[in-house]
Symmetry: C2
Subunit: 98 residues, 2 copies
Amino acid sequence: MTPIVILGSLAAIASTISFAPQAIKIIRTRQTKDISLGMYAITVTAFALWCAYGVLLGQWPLIASNSICLVLSGFILVMKLLPRRAKDKVADAVTPKD
Amino acid sequence: MTPIVILGSLAAIASTISFAPQAIKIIRTRQTKDISLGMYAITVTAFALWCAYGVLLGQWPLIASNSICLVLSGFILVMKLLPRRAKDKVADAVTPKD
């Protein structure tokens, strides 16, 4: 692997997992007040477009990476939009039982 | 332009501007409690790597798009890390006077 490929791979891995800490934080705190609805509306649209682009090109690295981002950012958007009680229900459902 | 190029361009534009609403929200509300530090630490690292990747490849579309994302997500990370008083100072400094 060349340094360019290594750099690009690290960048792709970091981008792909970047939304996970925010999703985990929301599950833990159930708070989304300071999170921008506009940002996640645009972000989810962007990843949906990148996935469609990957499908048209038949490029699985694009599809795989952007699908993960779409699911994570989509979860954050849904949690932002849900009313308090529904947010708690979802967070309870995905929290591992002790 | 082919449909693939149009789709990819729309995806790139949406990705590039996606952090702007969050940055604007923070300037307006000065609140960052619900925002994940881990997410922005990873995100800023990812965009720095993508910029370096773009430089090594000599690809200005990569450099341009990822520089904008680096600046916007870097601003969000800095605001998340700053103590209250400093956050207010920065927000005041970038808020247009009436």
